[in-house]
């Protein structure tokens, strides 16, 4: 079956190329007709790399040019993938100059907060990620893969990191009631053609948006767009809106690359043996066992 499709696609590509047009790639489909994005993926580029951020040692090594280690990608193996990756922007793309549209009072508050983070004045000032708090819409550990599962009415994005599972309801369900507040929010998805658009609300205010945005409000609202653009690449656009932080929404461009065949989720239980808090507060090292 796969060989037949490959031959058919190659033939179609040749015919279209002969006519002077770019061959159009279409993704494989689930039984209900939507793009089949299922499998194991490596997330890349999801971070708010703001320009003119407060100078802080927290941000060290984010911009040294060191690629953050993700060692389970399949690598780009098709010309379609290479074309999809070429000139691809990642990180903050709106605003294009990456100077975020802060509300002055929110900018002042986060700058003040950050002055107490290294060394942390108290537990409250320790980076959320260092406390194994759930990652919210931006954070996580991209040394770990993501897994997509689809069935009619649900699109599931499972992070290996810290057992996070996000279910995007695509069955027409509305959001849950406003009083329900969740670390990862409540997500509803709809298909716009072959793009899955995910609207997430009902966030609590307990997560961080990154090294320079240590907190946000419960008015946080995100819209994610997933488009499979080539066999090994899902384009991922993340729009972030928080009227208590920013005067208008910002957008991050990122992508998911296919992981190696056989990549399976392994437990990443952040809380298992973290020495971060003892190290940060200078408490004697406590062995795991």
């Amino acid at each position: 079956m796969r060989i037949t499709i490959t031959v058919a696609l190659a033939f179609a590509a040749a015919v279209i190329a002969a006519q002077g047009q770019e061959p159009q790639w279409t993704p494989p489909r689930t039984p209900d007709g939507h793009p089949d994005m299922q499998g194991a993926w490596a997330r890349r580029g999801t971070a708010i790399n703001e320009a003119k951020a407060p100078s802080s040692p927290l941000g060290e090594f984010n911009t040294t040019g060191q690629p953050y280690p993700t060692i389970f990608n399949s690598g780009v193996v098709t010309t379609l993938d290479r074309a999809a990756l070429a000139s691809r922007k990642t990180g903050v793309v709106d605003p294009p100059d990456q100077v975020l549209p802060w509300r002055p009072e929110a900018d002042a508050a986060r700058r003040e907060f950050m002055t107490h983070m290294i060394p942390p004045a108290s537990l409250k000032y320790v980076e959320k990620a260092a406390r194994c708090i759930l990652p919210g819409p931006v954070e996580g550990d991209d040394r770990s893969p993501f897994f997509i599962l689809q069935r009619p009415g649900e699109f599931v994005l499972a992070y290996e990191y810290n057992h996070v599972t996000r279910v995007f309801h695509t069955d027409g369900s509305p959001h849950v009631g406003k009083k329900i507040r969740l670390f990862m929010g409540d997500s509803i998805g709809r298909w716009e053609g072959d793009t899955l658009v995910v609207d997430t609300t009902n966030y609590n205010d307990k997560t961080s948006l990154g090294r320079t945005i240590p907190f946000h409000s419960e008015d946080l609202h995100t819209v994610e767009r997933f488009s499979m653009v080539s066999p090994n690449l899902i384009d991922y656009q993340l729009t972030i809106e928080d009227p208590k932080l920013f005067t208008r929404p910002i957008r991050v461009a990122a992508y998911f690359m296919a992981a190696q065949q056989g990549t399976e989720p392994m437990e990443f239980a952040c809380i298992e043996g973290s020495q971060t808090l003892p190290n940060v507060f200078g408490i004697p090292f406590a062995p795991a066992r």
């Binding site: 971070a47 060290e60 990620a129």
Partner: protein
């Protein structure tokens, strides 16, 4: 035992400066201005989330021995880089580089571990240069 080394993909598939979601900040615990290179023998490894720890016995100039604690990447990251539980056995002589903890104790964030035969293993951790390679090229992805 063979330890796989993933080769850096010849085509620069990923630009060096792609921002990525990272676990907690290196700088909260460790000091980039205190690089360390130590020679010692492996005491043991703790394969535990969120960071594997490698304990190295280092002989001091006065003849005493200090057991240093080196933080490495998560067990899953190490496994996928080719590390196994028997990759470095207790008693193996190693040269280990990294950055010392801010409180100046015998704790550091590991960057590389060099084995007696000269092979270098990356720690998978958060210090610059500790992750080894990025994209694994190869035959396992979907092909055209």
């Amino acid at each position: 035992m063979m330890i796989q080394r993933y080769l850096i993909a010849a085509a620069a598939l990923v630009a060096a400066a792609i921002p990525c979601a990272a676990h907690h900040s290196f700088a909260a615990e460790f000091d980039v201005n205190q690089p360390v290179t130590l020679r010692g023998t492996i005491n043991h490894m703790e394969w535990v989330n969120p960071h594997t720890w490698i304990y190295v016995d280092v002989k001091n100039s006065d003849g005493t021995v200090t057991t240093w604690h080196f933080e490495m990447g998560p067990p899953n990251a190490l496994l996928r880089m080719g590390w196994r539980k028997d990759s470095v056995m207790p008693g193996t002589a190693v040269e280990i580089t990294g950055y010392r903890a801010k409180d100046g104790d015998a704790i550091a964030n590991a960057k590389t571990v060099k084995l007696p035969d000269g092979r270098e293993l990356f720690s998978g951790g958060s210090a610059p240069g500790s992750g080894g390679t990025v994209d694994v090229p190869g035959p396992n992805g979907k092909k055209e």
